[in-house]
Subunit: 236 residues, 2 copies
């Protein structure tokens, strides 16, 4: 952000990112709750107390890592989705979901950092809520594109959906509704439900809940995400 004028400022920025890197490296094989400030300090050859010049507490460091992880999975999903034909909405959807899953399976500890139980004594810092929505925003954009090209199926299924739709108003946060663009709130709900389903499925797989339940995880995931896309209003 700011250009580091003085040598001290430059050294500070350098060390800050070195600490972050070391923490990120440690996260590869230890898991968030076992992440140790002292171990990071050892790896960097500095005293443990020196870390506190750069991060006020362990939780602050974790928060920074959380933001990193959100950005990483968001970027992975965006990059994959960007390579797909803009007109093939379902392919875009499925590709984004698959990319999110692939990233998660490749980075289990970072995943549990952002989608597991919050490890600090329940503190959802404001810095994290913005990057947290990145994958969700990507999905919302696809739904929005579907609506823009007149390809969003508004009525869910049969009369039942209509019934629940009729009284569903004011359920979602205005800024989320805005992110979906000019679609009715029922579509926002199904979109958020699909987003939830995406990470619910990944979490269940990663946290062992599909042990002795789902054998072919790839096929299962694809199937569920396809149905989620359909229910969100996307038709091929």
């Amino acid at each position: 952000m700011d250009a580091p004028r003085t040598a001290r400022a430059r050294a500070r920025a350098e060390l800050t990112s070195q600490i972050l890197d070391a923490a990120h490296r440690q996260l590869v094989d230890v898991g968030p709750s076992d992440l140790s400030l002292r171990a990071i300090a050892r790896e960097l050859g500095m005293s443990s107390s020196a870390i506190y010049r750069y991060f006020a507490s362990r939780d602050v460091l974790l928060t920074a890592l959380i933001v990193q992880a959100y950005d990483a999975i968001g970027e992975a999903a965006e990059a994959a989705e960007a390579a797909v034909d803009r007109n093939d909405l379902e392919a875009r959807w499925l590709t984004a979901c698959r990319a999110a899953r692939a990233w998660s399976l490749a980075h289990p500890h970072q995943y549990s950092l952002i989608y597991g139980s919050p490890v600090p004594g329940y503190a959802a810092p404001a810095d994290t809520i913005d990057p947290a929505g990145r994958v969700g925003l990507l999905l919302a954009r696809i739904v929005q594109d579907a609506a823009a090209t007149g390809r969003l199926a508004t009525t869910g299924e049969s009369e039942r959906a209509e019934e629940s739709t009729s009284r569903a108003t004011g359920v979602m946060h205005p800024q989320v509704v805005e992110a979906f663009g000019e679609v009715d709130e029922a579509s926002v709900i199904t979109g958020v439900a699909a987003w939830t389903s995406l990470f619910g499925t990944i979490s269940f797989e990663m946290f062992g809940h599909y042990e002795n339940v789902v054998t072919d995880r790839d096929a299962f995931f694809d199937d569920v995400m396809r149905r989620a896309a359909y229910q969100a209003g996307l038709r091929s």
Copy 2:
């Protein structure tokens, strides 16, 4: 289970459950990762090392608490569902889901113990996989009842569902297919997807992912669970 013949065995059983109770009590306000063996020992007026006569390690104690939590949420869902008219399949479904959510909101730390990121260095003990499926089994039973009374919608929606159904075989574990009874595998998949959606939605709500996203959580949950029931093949 076994009748404690000797006084020593009786004292052992007594103390074991006292430790478990103290741990459970501590879980009300501290969260799984902050659960302290020494604090439990202090509360019980015994030395910390004495705990190890009853639980070989902290993880073993946590495992016991996990089983307790699974049983508790399972029992809550079952009790609520049992009070509903057996013929109203959707009401049974929705009631079970609501009970699971209500239990979760009332017991956040126990919830994150079973549906959050696994706190031990990734150990999913065999003792836990059985009670873990209790809520899922309940939902499966409802689907099974629907099939038994000829009220299970087998073809999902349109030709798309049929397409993905055609190649979906061998995806699920045989014992899960068996738990669903005489339904085709596609219905098992949608059932497991609905089960995933249930806890995915609860997790997102509990772990703060609906902050600035969903305002009316009750209405949102009902809506999503109703759609999940529909997609699982349940029709009112």
